[in-house]
């Protein structure tokens, strides 16, 4: 219909020349069609609003239902509206949703579709592109709606019972037999005063009742502060096992974090992987200081969901950097591909600094027995996780 303007100009000349009044009416008619068509579609498309309703977090294997509401907020009807929603290829195949429909004034249409969480990760949902045009093919418009919606698929969590994480930090929530750590917040009774007892611990009420000095008895407890060190440096894994081993490493880290949080312990995470939400120009490791609670767990899982392999930060550098955030007596859970001498040196330094260390290897180049032997010499526990069922060692 690009010739409509030329026709209008021609009609104007004919009408002016022949002086036929009705031709001017036709001129208005055609011009009205042209003008209104141009304005109508653009305004109507501007008033289209899109809203997605869904849970933006899911676990591996879940089906996420997404409800897409498209609403025409204007008084102008939309003759046709084509919708193209781009989706992550890992969650849906084909990776788009398309449809076409019309919307009356103030009408709303809902589209439902499902995403299959087959792989952990951080996925952008969209963008959604809307196409529309007028009734005569004169003009068409396109509008991209980027809402910043995302979906986080958490890694698999294997339920673990106990990791056997020792700690020396006092005043925790795990009872222990070591009397050296008595937690003054856990009073379990009174006893007779003995020489050397602190006067602050005297229980005055009982003393008044009994007539002899009585002191409070406290239950000893330790706090297990743990930091998971997760190695996702691609170069430290073999080419054949890079993907599977790193995914297994993430699963292991998630499962351990979950277990410790369930035990109401303090857990942190440090990794040299790439966070897609961080600035790609700056190479920085991911460090989450140890905290307690479900919120910390969700925070750790969020990071583990989106973290990817990187190449920029060697694992030993990460260890050196991250252990500065740990308190004395904490436990470092090292999840890495292989343990070489440089790593063992680092671990020995950690041990001497008062930390407890547990080593988990997933892609050893040498037989694991050698690694285990070396670890024993250094005085740390070592485990091999070659596949998921190897995590059963912590289920007992």
């Amino acid at each position: 219909m690009t010739n409509l303007l030329a026709f209008i100009i021609g009609l104007f000349l004919i009408a002016a020349l022949l002086r036929v009044d009705f031709f001017f009416y036709i001129l208005y008619f055609l011009f009205g069609i042209y003008l209104v068509s141009r304005i109508w579609t653009e305004r109507a498309l501007r008033s289209v609003d899109v809203h997605r309703e869904y849970l933006n977090r899911a676990f591996l294997g879940d089906q996420v239902q997404i409800k897409l509401d498209i609403r025409n907020k204007s008084w102008l009807p939309m003759p046709w509206l084509r919708l193209h929603e781009s989706l992550p290829i890992h969650l849906k195949s084909p990776n788009f949703i398309r449809s076409v429909f019309s919307l009356w004034s103030k009408e709303k249409r809902t589209l439902d579709y499902e995403l299959d969480c087959r792989r952990r990760g951080y996925y952008d949902i969209g963008p959604l592109t809307l196409y529309s045009g007028d009734l005569f093919g004169m003009i068409s418009y396109e509008k991209v709606m980027a809402h910043g919606d995302y979906l986080i698929v958490y890694p698999r969590i294997v339920p673990l019972k106990a990791i056997g994480v020792p700690a020396q930090t006092p005043f925790g929530s795990v009872p222990t037999k070591q009397r050296i750590y008595e937690d003054p917040s856990r009073m379990v009774g009174v006893r007779d005063y003995q020489s050397g007892d602190s006067l602050r611990h005297i229980h005055w009420k009982t003393t008044a009742t009994k007539g002899t000095l009585q002191v409070k008895r406290f239950e000893p407890a330790i706090s297990i502060e743990s930091q998971i060190f997760l190695n996702l440096n691609r170069t430290e894994y073999t080419v054949q096992r890079a993907i599977s081993a790193t995914e297994l490493a993430i699963t292991t880290a998630a499962s351990i974090a979950h277990c410790l949080i369930e035990q109401r312990q303090t857990v942190g995470l440090a990794s040299n992987g790439l966070d897609p939400l961080a600035d790609p120009e700056q190479a920085q490791s991911i460090i989450l200081p140890p905290r307690k609670g479900q919120e910390q767990l969700m925070h750790i899982l969020d990071v583990l969901a989106r973290v990817q392999m990187g190449e920029q930060i060697p694992f030993n550098d990460l260890l050196r950097q991250a252990r500065l955030h740990l308190t004395w007596g904490s436990t470092g859970i090292i999840i890495t591909a292989d343990a070489d001498e440089a790593l063992f040196d680092n671990l020995l330094l950690m041990k001497r600094a008062g930390f407890h260390v547990i080593l988990v290897v997933l892609d050893p180049r040498a037989p694991f027995a050698n690694v285990k032997q070396r670890a024993k010499e250094v005085g740390i526990a070592a485990y091999e996780v070659w596949e998921e069922r190897d995590l059963d060692v912590w289920r007992i």
């Binding site: 010739n3 209008i8 104007f12 208005y28 011009f31 019309s102």
Partner: protein
């Protein structure tokens, strides 16, 4: 729940498709062609009354429908070769017979009997000139209707274009050459639209020529024609309906080929929207003026006159106000005894411009003028907007043309003229602004701020009297220093004007009371001080004159010693 709904929707869609394809579309095409035939007949009738206009129009409608129906029948029955030729032959024989009968029956049965008798004598008379001309016209109509119907059908998605299933033997061929068998819908739609517009121009020209006197047209002295021309309106309405349908078919074909699901009753809504849209535009267009009582030049000149008239009235009013105020101010200086100045009268306002006429020396009513103004405003707006966007859409063509040497030279000349003119205007503006600023600065130095004493309270006026004396004294070299109190300054003033020392004292005391006390200063007191102030002013003026006289006598006349020498 979903299955019955989907089935219902499918049935609705099928019904709509059948209605559109079998009924509405052929009727629309036939209607459009009939409108063209009506205009053609009107034009021919304006040249010769022998042309059977009504019969040709009805025939055009029937032939169009027959053409489309015959084509659909051939397709449905898959006729080919000899069967198809037989079908067509029979079809044309019938059409020509109907034509012949129709022409003969114009004179009634007697005319038919006469014609039959002449054919038996001379078979060639069966094919008279009118028959042949209308026959050729019929062929053209037949071809046009068929072409339009076929084009509309070809816009739909075909099986050959759709991607076959991966298990289909044709899949390999399709995957290696997916564009094979693809229809160029854009070209077809363009052809359809060009046909529509071409037909529109043809119809408008013929209709216009049938309404005006050709001789007068050549000398541009023809009168205006008014009234509704139904076939013209119908042609464009049906045409846009068909174009909209064609656009929908293309969109639908593209969606089908891309496997994009169509949700809801899109087709039905499309039709409803198009009808509603066209109706709305037609109604709004009907409200706009299509005729004018006053020509555009008369309208423009009348509008300009009115603008000038309003401007002169405003200027006159402003001058009147200024002259009245100046007269009042001047009257104050004439004193109380002087007679008040005569009130200036406003100059006789300019007579409004004469009412525009239609050219036959008959003045038109104001509402007719307004309607003409609205008409020209809208029409020029429409034409201007169309030209602007038309050129804008083809700007690259003009850009290419502008690369030719001559146009480039003209363009550069124009650019340099524009640049120089802008610079000259800028310099002129700057110099005007600077000269105004200089003048203002000079004026500010000379006159200072105008103060209206009548607006001041009696206390402020007393203060003003004292401060104005200090200011005047300052011009004579004995102003009041900031460190000096009013009483100390009183002594200085008295020493400079011994004759007015009493008045100076009274003025100083009044100032001190007005400035530093909470006593009420009444109007009477103020008037008394005003008299004192005026006397002190006169004393200052006298002193200044005496001093200047002394100075001029010291400089002007030679000294006694010089003369002695």
């Amino acid at each position: 729940m979903e299955a019955p709904n989907a089935e219902k929707q499918t049935k609705e869609r099928q019904f709509l498709t059948v209605t559109l394809e079998e009924v509405l579309r052929p009727l629309g095409i036939a209607g459009m062609i009939t409108c063209l035939a009506v205009s053609f007949s009107q034009f021919i009738n304006s040249l010769t009354p022998l042309w059977p206009g009504t019969f040709v129009s009805v025939l055009a409608f029937l032939v169009s429908l027959e053409s489309i129906h015959a084509w659909r029948t051939v397709k449905r029955l898959r006729l080919s070769g000899r069967d198809k030729s037989r079908f067509r032959f029979a079809e044309w024989i019938v059409l020509l017979l109907i034509l012949r009968l129709g022409l003969s029956l114009r004179e009634g049965l007697a005319g038919l009997a006469e014609d039959v008798a002449s054919w038996t004598v001379n078979a060639v008379s069966f094919f008279d000139a009118l028959f042949l001309i209308i026959g050729v016209l019929m062929v053209a109509i037949w071809v046009m209707a068929l072409g339009l119907a076929q084009t509309m059908k070809e816009l739909e998605a075909t099986e050959a274009e759709k991607a076959p299933a991966t298990t289909d033997p044709r899949y390999d061929l399709w995957s290696t050459a997916p564009s094979r068998g693809r229809v160029d819908r854009t070209a077809k739609l363009r052809g359809l639209i060009n046909t529509f517009f071409g037909g529109g121009i043809f119809m408008l020209v013929l209709t216009g020529l049938s309404l005006v006197n050709l001789r007068q047209l050549l000398s541009l002295e023809h009168a205006r024609s008014s009234g509704i021309i139904a076939n013209v309106l119908l042609y464009f309405v049906i045409g846009f309906l068909l174009i909209s349908q064609a656009h929908y078919i293309i969109l639908k074909a593209n969606w089908e080929l891309q496997s994009i699901p169509i949700l809801g009753k899109l087709g039905k809504r499309w039709l409803q929207l198009v009808l509603g849209f066209l109706l709305l535009i037609a109604l709004v267009a009907a409200l706009l003026p299509v005729d004018y009582s006053v020509g555009i030049m008369d309208v423009l000149s009348t509008v300009l006159w009115w603008i000038l008239h309003i401007i002169t009235q405003i200027v006159g009013l402003i001058l009147f106000i200024i002259s009245y105020v100046v007269g009042l101010v001047l009257s104050l200086f004439r004193g109380e005894q002087a007679a008040p100045p005569p009130a200036p009268t406003m100059s006789q306002p300019m007579l409004p411009p004469p009412a525009p006429s239609t050219g036959e020396s008959e003045p038109v009513a104001w509402w007719q003028f307004v309607r003409s103004l609205l008409f020209w405003f809208i029409i020029i707006g429409v034409a201007g907007y169309s030209v602007y966007h038309f050129l804008g859409d083809r700007w690259d063509i003009f850009k290419q043309l502008s690369m030719t040497p001559l146009l480039r030279w003209i363009g550069n000349l124009w650019k340099s003229l524009r640049r120089d003119t802008r610079q000259a205007i800028g310099r002129l503006r700057q110099s005007v602004v600077q000269s105004i600023a200089r003048r203002r600065a000079r004026l500010a130095q000379r006159t200072g701020r105008y103060l209206s004493l009548h607006r001041l309270s009696p206390r402020d006026r007393v203060r003003y009297f004292y401060l104005s004396i200090a200011h005047r004294a300052n011009t004579q070299g004995f102003g009041r220093p900031a460190s000096m109190t009013p009483l100390e300054y009183q002594r200085m003033l008295a020493s400079q004007m011994p004759d007015a020392d009493v008045d100076v004292e009274a003025l100083t005391q009044a100032f001190l009371e007005a400035r530093y006390s909470a006593h009420t200063v009444t109007e009477e007191q103020m008037r008394g001080i005003q008299g004192v102030w005026q006397r002190v002013k006169r004393a200052l003026t006298t002193r200044r004159r005496q001093l200047s006289a002394r100075k001029s006598s010291e400089h002007g006349s030679p000294s006694a010693n010089d003369h002695a020498d």
